[in-house]
């Protein structure tokens, strides 16, 4: 009896840990194969580029994980990045005396505001998240285009301090991935180790039961959107810092990449399951694939198709594993139930 229980726990644990491990394995294979075909792939610049690109995606994925774990979705993040990048760019271009910290705060505040709008509509208005954030995706994009009016922000207009945030490094580690890792670790620790962090999983696992158990569902869903928006705001500032040149439709369509990264990273789209570590690894994997395909001179069309195929693979594997785990648990229960 105890032997059965212990082995069941082993299997279940393994399945959930296996996701992070298998992403790392996939990354290793991908890097090895690509580097074998083209030595430049592992050049210092090449690796740095991958991490710089992955950092912004990973930040967004961490925010998105929060939302998806509560069985919701935030499709507006790409638009928020675009809006923040442009407005903060304009803000800094207008007066070079304005500091980087102020810019970051402004960006996070704008993102948080967008998050609050999403959160209110979803949690208080009880409108399905898909519809709400699809709506705000277009609304925010529209606002961005209105503000931009066809202009663009150029790197020369921006203070050098900001640009060095995007491309500089400390002890050889670029700032961007450092920020992403710090945020990921903080959020991951919070979600796992704090009672309020566990509420998010409870809500996604069974919204009805969460309400009955006295979990403040609305407040937590609100918080998830707030955090997703704030991180998208931060990502917007980092985007500006990294690319310098920004037009109104920056980060257009990124929301789908973010959701892909999160799902590939093992966060269940139906809520309740997954970690920010997995999501961030998913972001790194997707970015690496894109870079590898460029290095391998694969047609850009295939890059998207491969991302899509990977998504389908991840979801199929999840489904298969879920069925297998369910079967194991059922067998175990049959044994001690009757």
């Amino acid at each position: 009896m105890t032997a059965v229980t212990a082995s069941t726990r082993g299997v279940v644990d393994l399945v959930f840990r296996a996701r992070e491990a298998s992403i790392v394995a996939a990354l290793a294979v991908l890097v090895a194969v690509t580097a074998g075909a083209n030595g430049n792939f592992l050049s210092t610049q090449g690796v740095k580029d991958i991490f710089l690109n992955a950092a912004i995606l990973a930040l967004l994925a961490v925010g998105q994980t929060f939302v998806i774990i509560t069985r919701n979705i935030d499709l507006s993040v790409g638009s928020v990045v675009g809006l923040v990048a442009f407005t903060v760019g304009g803000f800094l271009a207008a007066d070079h005396g304005r500091g980087v910290l102020l810019a970051v705060l402004l960006g996070v505040a704008i993102g948080a505001l967008c998050g609050i709008v999403n959160g209110l509509l979803v949690s208080v208005g009880r409108v399905p998240a898909l519809v709400v954030t699809l709506g705000t995706l277009y609304v925010i994009q529209g606002v961005d285009h209105y503000i931009a009016h066809g202009r663009q922000i150029n790197a020369v207009d921006l203070p050098p301090a900001l640009l060095s945030l995007g491309n500089g490094s400390v002890l050889g580690v670029p700032y961007l991935p450092l920020i992403a890792v710090v945020v990921m670790l903080a959020v991951g620790f919070y979600l796992r180790s704090y009672p309020s962090g566990r509420d998010f999983y409870a809500i996604g696992s069974s919204p009805e039961a969460a309400g009955l158990a006295g979990v403040p569902v609305r407040r937590r869903v609100m918080a998830a959107y707030l955090l997703s928006g704030a991180l998208a705001g931060l990502a917007g500032v980092l985007w500006l810092a990294r690319f310098g040149t920004v037009v109104a439709d920056a980060a257009n369509g990124w929301e789908l990449q973010v959701v892909s990264a999160v799902v590939v990273g093992g966060v269940a789209i139906t809520g309740g399951v997954g970690t920010v570590y997995g999501a961030a690894l998913g972001a790194l994997l997707l970015t690496t694939i894109t870079s590898a395909l460029v290095v391998l001179r694969v047609d850009p069309f295939w890059q998207q198709a491969i991302t899509g195929a990977l998504l389908l693979l991840a979801i199929s594997v999840d489904r298969l594993l879920a069925l297998r785990v369910a079967r194991i648990l059922r067998r175990r229960n049959a044994r001690h139930g009757s």
Binding site: M1, T5, Y194, P195, A209, L212, L329, N333, G337
Partner: protein, 509 residues
């Protein structure tokens, strides 16, 4: 009649409702209801479906706030602004379908919202697992605190809920039909746990449609009818008939109005049907005019046999004949056109489209015959409505409008809609899986009358049921399954509780 208990004078009830009313739109769910729960006493709440029991439970648990009247805790009025308030006051509710988080571990399910913590507010997982193991040891339940709740049987899920109540040191335990989906052994284990809690001074409110259970577990009973309080009285001295009369408000027609019929030719023949790991070598026949019960413990494979016959699941060996013609495997469409109908066990998940109207639900099985011939594959709304009205009358359905969503109907009336949906296909063989589970006595008698009439008209009926009195009262023959095998075929005159249970549990009869 109602103030015979001297306790009422001396002790203060732990939790009480006085003159509570609650309306939802035009529906008055509760009208001036009074209820008193005392420490160390198990109190039953009886009433038909729609009598207001669930609304009352939700008022106690803080989900609903009363329109008028008061909730009293230790004699002092309180207001619960939500489930969290009620929990903080020591009220634990166990719903019919347990409300666990499938993705969280069992221990987290128990401690959600009140995790033990270490410094800086972090969760103390070791302590959480140890406390959970301790709770399970007290309850005598062999469950692993670290296992996810997904995959637990309903019985185990309820025990997790009880452990949760225990860990909160709940003073009031409210159980809303906890036994509806449990087997006999599981009910016994549950009752042992509840009795122990009661003896430790917990007040228990127990809801069940099985009157035997009320008599076994409870000391007092409050009866509701149509949202109004009827009586509160000690259970001792009451008879089943008294209780039924209070619930129904009239003398009940016979609960098992079985008419004698002469079985005709074989309508359904199942030969050595096997689905690996689920059921093995199952053979039986059902004749026209016959009601054959398929009895056994929950998990014996009865529903699975029904699903295979109807083609929902495939089978690995054997064959099925309807009216002498072989049925192709795994095709519900072929089964339907051969004249089979399956009324599934879980009406909410498998039997109904809850958000759609009564007429749509009834029409769903006959979309082809509802076509307007001149327009090709276009459904005639008028024909759909006519059919629904026809069946609503025959089944004595209680409804407002046929265009209402079935989700607003009570459980018994929902079951009638599922029956109507399948009977409107005019089946030759009807398979019903737990046709009266969770239905009040009044509706139960109506369903039995209907099955009896259908058999008298020459339909072959296969009835899966865990309700032994129903099996014995309704069936011409009783088939018993145990662990995936058919272990007995008992004719009506030799079927007794003992002979059926012996075959179901594998003890020699």
């Amino acid at each position: 009649m109602t103030e015979s208990d001297d306790r009422t004078g001396t002790a203060v009830p732990v939790l009480a409702l006085t003159g509570v009313s609650k309306s939802f739109g035009a529906v008055r769910a509760l009208r001036g209801v009074t209820l008193e729960l005392y420490a160390g006493e198990a109190h039953a709440l009886a009433g038909e479906n729609g009598a207001g029991k669930s609304t009352l439970v939700k008022t106690l648990s803080g989900v609903h706030r009363p329109d008028t009247g008061q909730v009293l805790l230790d004699g002092r009025p309180v207001e619960f602004h939500g489930p969290a308030d009620a929990q903080a006051a020591g009220v634990a509710v166990i719903y019919q379908e347990p409300t666990l988080f499938p993705d969280l571990s069992i221990a987290e399910n128990i401690f959600i919202g009140r995790h033990p913590r270490v410094r800086l507010g972090r969760i103390d997982r070791d302590r959480m697992h140890a406390s959970t193991a301790e709770l399970f040891a007290r309850l005598g339940v062999p469950l692993d605190p670290r296992q996810p709740a997904r995959g637990l049987s309903i019985a185990d899920q309820q025990l997790v809920e009880i452990a949760k109540a225990l860990s909160r040191e709940a003073r009031v335990l409210v159980m809303d039909e906890p036994t509806a989906a449990l087997s006999g052994a599981e009910v016994a284990r549950l009752f042992a746990v509840v009795k122990a809690l009661r003896e430790q001074g917990c007040a228990v409110l127990f809801i069940s449609h099985r009157l035997d259970e009320i008599f076994e577990l409870c000391q007092r009973v409050t009866t509701l009818r149509d949202g109004a309080w009827v009586a509160s009285e000690p259970v001792a001295g009451l008879t089943h008939d008294d209780l039924v009369r209070r619930m129904v408000g009239r003398e009940l027609d016979a609960l098992y109005p079985k008419r004698g019929t002469v079985p005709g030719e074989v309508a359904l023949k199942v030969h050595r049907l096997t689905r690996e790991g689920v059921f093995t070598d199952v053979s039986f026949e059902v004749r026209r005019g016959e009601i054959v019960a398929l009895a056994g413990l929950v998990g014996a494979g009865r529903s699975e046999v029904a699903r295979a016959i109807f083609g929902v699941d495939r089978w690995d060996a054997g064959w099925v004949e309807v009216d002498g013609r072989l049925l192709p495997p795994a095709s519900p469409t072929a089964a339907m056109s051969a004249g089979l109908a399956l009324v599934p066990e879980d009406r909410r998940q498998q039997g109904l489209v809850m958000d759609q109207s009564i007429e749509r639900n009834i029409g769903l099985t006959g979309l082809r015959s509802l076509r307007r011939s001149s327009l090709g594959p276009v459904i005639s709304r008028a024909a759909e409505r006519d059919r629904a009205r026809d069946w609503a009358i025959r089944l004595r359905l209680k409804y407002n409008r046929l265009s209402d969503a079935v989700s607003v109907l009570s459980g018994g009336n929902q079951q009638k809609v599922v029956l109507g949906k399948w009977l409107s296909t005019r089946p030759r063989v009807l398979i019903v899986d737990e046709p009266t589970r969770g239905i009040d006595v009044g509706t139960k008698a109506e369903v039995h009358r209907l099955l009896s009439e259908l058999a008298a008209d020459g339909m072959a009926v296969l009835m899966i049921s865990s309700d032994l009195p129903e099996v014995l009262g309704m069936a011409d023959r009783v088939l018993v399954m145990q662990e995936g095998r058919l272990t007995a075929d008992i004719p009506r005159d030799r079927a007794t509780e003992e002979s059926v249970m012996a075959a179901a549990t594998g003890r020699a009869a």
